[in-house]
């Protein structure tokens, strides 16, 4: 596939996310660890730091404290769901063809001005796995 098309699709894929969401996703483990350590995080101070770093909400505006909390909640939900899916055993009937989109750890590449949190992998933690489906031999209610 020409690199140009891939790059355009990657850009399109990321464009629906705020910079705040993407930053939280990239730094999920570190940010989460810092919050856990704080116990009752000072969201006002955290928001000020994030705004100072130039992170924005979905409208391109500095996020409010509430928006930061909600974005973190959404990122947590997405990441945890994706990780749970990855841990689930693959169906023995399914060919193993899904590795192409599995997260690939890479240097975190922290930009200057980011929160002083522990470094984390730069992988997209909620990258789903895709694999061919198969007709159930015995269709049944939800799994």
């Amino acid at each position: 596939m020409p690199a140009r098309s891939l790059e355009r699709i990657r850009q399109a894929a990321m464009s629906s996310r705020s910079t705040l969401y993407r930053w939280m996703q990239r730094n999920y483990d570190g940010f989460g660890a810092a919050l856990a350590e704080a116990g009752r995080p000072n969201w006002k101070a955290i928001t000020a730091e994030l705004v100072a770093d130039g992170l924005t909400d979905a409208d391109g505006k500095p996020p409010s404290q509430e928006a930061v909390r909600q974005t973190w909640w959404k990122v947590r939900k997405a990441v945890e769901a994706a990780r749970a899916k990855r841990l689930a055993p693959l169906s023995p009937a399914a060919p193993a063809v899904s590795a192409a989109v599995a997260p690939t750890p890479s240097p975190s590449g922290k930009a200057a001005g980011e929160l002083p949190l522990p470094s984390t992998a730069d992988a997209a933690p909620d990258a789903p796995k895709f694999r061919p489906a198969r007709l159930r031999s015995q269709p049944h209610e939800d799994t």
Binding site: L135, D142, T143
Partner: protein, 281 residues
């Protein structure tokens, strides 16, 4: 691909007054049959997609028959052999997984999550040159979000060797044309576009307003193919759904009459979709 803003007034321009005078002749009271009397005088040279990977974008309002169509397509095509990704973007209705193992689903119901998931799925299909059946669900926003940043999605996919197939499932209510009109206006007009008129929503003569509509005619005019989706009798549909059976496996499990209904429906589906058989993954 340029997209032209489209207004509600443009989408819904109903024929009336003088235009009514040019309506086709009155339909004669012929005996009712399961055949489609309005099966189009259509299909010039239909695009041949045999052997190519393709991605079905199944578009339509809720409860219009998208999942039933996808179940059928999965049973008929390569999905039956485990070579096709089946995906349900619909945050509410994910009934495909009752019938299929390994249905891809977005990690959450959040609209942005669904949009990103769809983008990643398409990227994967392009990279792996794999076919996919995607149920976009009623009230889809994920495709439109993607088209907002990439209106030439169809061309990009074609360039990468994966054919996008727009599958618009439409009922007899002219408002069922809204997803078609908005998707076309957003620039998603693949060469392979199917307008599936689902007789579950009404007999063919109830579709005249839909077929006459400018949105429908515009799609036909640019090469879309009209296909009738035959009616599976409500009794048979309910019985098959209640037992979660595959259509092709019903046999006489549900009794000879329902079995015969399902077989007749499968035959009619095969006949109606024969012009676009090569579009099935």
């Amino acid at each position: 691909m340029a997209s032209k803003p489209i207004t509600r007034a443009t989408i819904f321009r109903f024929p009336g007054g003088a235009e009514r005078e040019s309506l086709p002749e009155v339909t004669l009271p012929l005996p009712t049959t399961t055949a489609s009397p309005m099966r189009a005088a259509q299909h010039g040279a239909v695009l041949d997609l045999a052997g190519k990977p393709k991605v079905w974008f199944t578009i339509g309002r809720g409860r219009i028959g998208k999942t039933t169509l996808l179940r059928w397509a999965a049973e008929m095509g390569e999905a039956n052999e485990g070579r096709v990704i089946c995906a349900a973007a619909d945050p509410v209705n994910r009934s495909l997984r009752v019938y299929l193992d390994g249905v891809a689903e977005p990690p959450t119901n959040d609209a942005a999550d669904v949009a990103q998931w769809l983008q990643e799925l398409l990227l994967f299909a392009l990279q792996e040159k794999m076919s996919a059946l995607v149920d976009l669900g009623g009230g889809d926003t994920s495709l439109h979000r993607l088209l907002g940043t990439m209106p030439d999605l169809a061309s990009v996919m074609e360039e990468e060797g994966v054919s996008p197939v727009a599958v618009h499932v439409i009922g007899s209510d002219p408002h069922d044309l809204v997803p078609l009109a908005t998707t076309e206006a957003a620039g998603f007009r693949p060469a392979a576009t199917m307008l599936v008129l689902n007789q579950m929503t009404g007999r063919p003569d109830r579709f005249s307003d839909v077929i006459r509509h400018s949105a429908f005619q515009a799609a036909l005019g640019r090469g879309a193919v009209q296909v009738w989706m035959p009616l599976l009798t409500p009794d048979a549909a309910r019985a098959v759904d209640a037992r979660h059976l595959h259509f092709t496996q019903v046999g006489n499990t549900l009794g000879p009459f329902i079995g015969a209904s399902v077989r007749a429906w499968l035959k009619a589906m095969s006949d109606e979709f024969s012009p676009v058989k090569s579009w099935l993954p």
